[in-house]
């Protein structure tokens, strides 16, 4: 995950409290989505950014996961995400991100 974004997330978490934040990601593939998810829960797995070794434990979901998708207005979801959803490997993404969340998220 981009180093500047890592820093922003770190700062915002300090400001608002980890228990109040939910990160929603849009990663194109299971692997990159998994890495982003891991970065905000367990720490930057590439050890290159401000979140290296820092486990914020944030709740993190991918946009296509039912826990997020179902909360949104169906028409708006379809308009904004409908096309991409058809191209993404949704099952693989859900599997990877929820695996990371179950293992590392504290909220």
């Amino acid at each position: 995950m981009d180093l500047e974004i890592q820093q922003r997330i770190k700062d915002l978490t300090e400001k608002h409290g980890a228990e109040n934040i939910v990160v929603v990601i849009g990663g194109a593939e299971a692997e990159s989505a998994g890495l982003s998810a891991e970065t905000v829960c367990a720490g930057d797995p590439t050890f290159a950014g401000p979140l290296a070794g820092i486990a914020l434990g944030l709740a993190v979901y991918h946009m296509v996961e039912p826990e997020i998708k179902d909360e949104c207005d169906a028409a708006i979801y379809d308009e904004q995400c409908g096309m991409m959803e058809m191209v993404l490997d949704v099952d693989a993404i859900i599997e990877e991100v929820s695996k990371v969340r179950k293992e590392f998220s504290k909220f």
Binding site: V22, V24, S36, I68, Y77, Q80
Partner: protein, 41 residues
């Protein structure tokens, strides 16, 4: 589930971009405190 939570949207140019996540979550009544879109090299 999202009630009262502050959302950070990290979109992906080749997946679901930041603005799309924002729009969807606004429709869910959530408060977005930060949104961005990444490109993976």
């Amino acid at each position: 589930m999202l009630q009262g939570k502050k959302i950070i949207a990290v979109g992906d140019r080749d997946g679901i971009p930041g603005p799309a996540i924002e729009e969807c979550l606004k429709s869910a009544g959530a408060e977005i405190i930060f949104a961005s879109t990444e490109c993976f090299v």
